[in-house]
């Protein structure tokens, strides 16, 4: 087989689908999760892993939404309860409570933080034009955390800004 024939055999992005699995067709992928009844999403490229809830080691004199730190393969990762931070729903911990560990790379340094959410729901493919700005009628979640809104069927998903989620954590604690 010559090289040109081989090249033709390589699937072009978007052509390839297997039943039951969505491959990337276009746009970005977002991981959605639930806080109480509301749907939220983060850029899937930032997701390091999804873990089940385990009791973390407490950090002395930290705010209530910092649950503590856990050992993730030798890395010390702080755990933030998003429900407490955004004051959405009640913070209960059961077998099904999950922790989404997000890593955000910024100019060579990276920061890994785990966020407690009620449940992980889906992965969405979204074109960037489909992310609409959020109306500025403030809810519990500050506008700096929100990148925009996505319409998914008849639900609205809030896209969270991972950079801010990680960054603000730090400043708030220092004050």
């Amino acid at each position: 087989m010559n090289i040109q024939a081989m090249a033709q055999d390589i699937p072009v992005e978007g052509e390839h689908t297997v039943e039951g699995i969505d491959f990337i067709t276009s746009g970005d992928q977002y991981l959605t999760f639930l806080l109480a009844e509301e749907q939220y999403a983060v850029d899937i490229l930032c997701v390091e892993e999804i873990r089940s809830w385990e009791q973390p080691t407490k950090i002395p004199n930290s705010p209530s939404y910092i649950k503590g730190v856990i050992n993730m393969r030798g890395i010390i990762v702080p755990i933030v309860d998003l429900r407490l931070k955004f004051q959405i729903g009640t913070a209960s911990y059961s077998e099904t409570t999950v922790v989404i560990v997000l890593t955000y790379q910024n100019e060579g340094s990276s920061r890994t933080i785990g966020f407690v959410v009620d449940a992980v729901s889906d992965v969405l493919n979204v074109e960037s034009v489909d992310i609409k700005p959020a109306p500025a009628f403030g809810g519990c979640v500050g506008p700096q955390y929100i990148d925009g809104l996505i319409n998914s069927e008849n639900k609205v998903v809030t896209v969270l800004n991972v950079a801010h989620l990680q960054k603000i954590e730090k400043h708030k604690l220092q004050s």
Partner: protein, 706 residues
Amino acid sequence: MTVDLSQFIPSFLEESFEGLELMESGLLNLEAGDNETIHSIFRAAHSIKGGAGTFGFDSVTEFTHLVETLLDEMRDGRREVTSKDTEILLESVDCMRLLIEAARDQEDYDQDKVSKTSARLSETLGEETSADTESKSEIDSSTSGGSGFKITFIPEHSLAKTGNDPIFLFSALAELGDLTLCANTEELPALMDIDAQELYLNWQLTLITEVDKSEIIEIFEWVEDECVLEIEPITNTVDEVGQDNSSENDAPIVNELSIEPQSDNTAIQETVDTPKVAAERPTEDKGKVTNTKAKADLGSIRVGVDKVDSLINLVGELVITQSMLSELGNDFDMTKVERLTSGLEQLLQNTKELQESVMRIRMLPISFAFNRFPRLVHDLAIKTGKEMELVINGEQTELDKTVMEQIGDPLVHLVRNAADHGIESKETRLANGKSEKGTISLDAYHQGGNIVIEIKDDGAGIDRTKVLNKAVDNGLIDANATLTDSQVYDLLFEPGFSTAAEVTDISGRGVGMDVVKRNIQSLGGRIQVESDLGKGSTFKVNLPLTLAILDGQLVKVGSETYIIPLISIVESLQIDNTLINRVSGDMVLYRLRDDNVPVLPIYKMFNLETQCTEIDKALLVVVEADGQKIGLMVDDLLAQQQVVIKSLNDNYQQVAGISGATILGDGSVAMILDIPGMIHMALEQAQRNQRARADGNNSVAAEVCL
């Protein structure tokens, strides 16, 4: 003593670029009255200046001195922080970067920009305050040019044997004006034929200055008979300097020579370096901007082959153990339990040895940090006009690389202080019945799990009353407070504290000692001062051998496990009810033999829930830091073990009272207590309470007066 300083230049560059970044970001966020930021900018500039001085990057030192003077005025509040000044400072930071890059690449720089900025700086300094006129005139003379002399200096080969070092002459000349040197290496024999005590070089010097010829002759007075000396006045300097380019070709040859241990080694190297920088000035090429040449230098380490070999052996053994264990696991039954236990034991042994071996890779002899000091002391001796010598002991003592990198600067500060403030002038020393020559000694040795570095001088010692008076002037302490000696010496580490009567190029601005202490503390070490008035002082720096692993005592508080560094534990004891005293209100003291130790319950400090709130049911771990003992109340003592320190900073941030975290055998995370931090926390808490109480009392008193 032969010291090849060039090996430290990369680390200086790295530090300087970091410092510049810090200055820049500080300046960009600078607002009026923001003293902390000004302090940190100033410190960065100060470090760069100090480092540049050590390595002979004179252009950097000169320029940074101006910047520092301006910053000093801002710091003291003598000058308001205006946007115009910030602008100039930012520009200066750019210039400093240019200069350092130029020094690094040994290339020329945009001299126009630098001289313009330095002119602006001196202008700013001059217009509002009676600024540092000395440095101003220095810059003026170097920028304005003017008349000068062309000096041909051909010393006899035996010049060095008579104790005359040309470098002293040249530095004396450099004080008169802008000196350009060009070394002639023609007479230099082949390396094999060199007599280490002979001097083979001769020099062409161009001195741009306003002074009289007689002053120059005076400098050469001592060597007149042993050299050929011609001094010709010149008016137009540019042509002369252009000649220097020829020296550039010769320079590398001489540079190679410096490998040879030779008494005037440093002299040769310097004289070669200086004309290089100077020669490049006139051949300035404006199109050539060097900032693209950012050499990425990742931290690297030089490891002896024997260390690597032993590591490979150990890994080999580990592999054998592993294959043995996996074979055992293939068809395991109870008859093989014994073999399994012995295999696991072997694994434990292997792991331990491997760990030690890897740790040893990070260990370097402290001579890496000490090597720069002979030159520093030598230069300081010239600058201060005092006679002093440096004695180094224990330079083979090994120390973790990270610790070594961070201890360099604090040590420089301490040595400078010893040279500048400690050692007295020749006359004073003789009058006090001491030998003419002052001695500064650097000692390093192991003590327990620590390394101790002593910086000792046989100088004047610390004048207790002088320190106290200064502290009262600065409002640091009350005029009639009674302090112990160690408390008095601790005052030296307060920011902005200096007893030096005048600010010199070397020290006296009161910056440094606070940084020294902070750096040492951030390494988990401590510094002690001992002093004998009239006899000298000793600064003792105590550092942990490594930052990566720590011996810890695991303790239980409520449901949490904490680790107390074993090194800070004095003793652990069961509380004896009769020895508990409640005094001065709410303070709980425990009588430990003659000492009264304040008791701090960890559960209270960290807001934890525990069953064990009764003091007589708990255990007391007595710890010591900064000379202060406290008793930490814990529920239970668990095992003692080595723990690997993980930073909380990476993904989180510094937590008060916690120095880091570690992962225990069961995979859970435990916090490592920061004992000095906890003492600090407790003191702050106590002060807050006292203040609150004092406020209450004051209002009562006021009512009574009414």
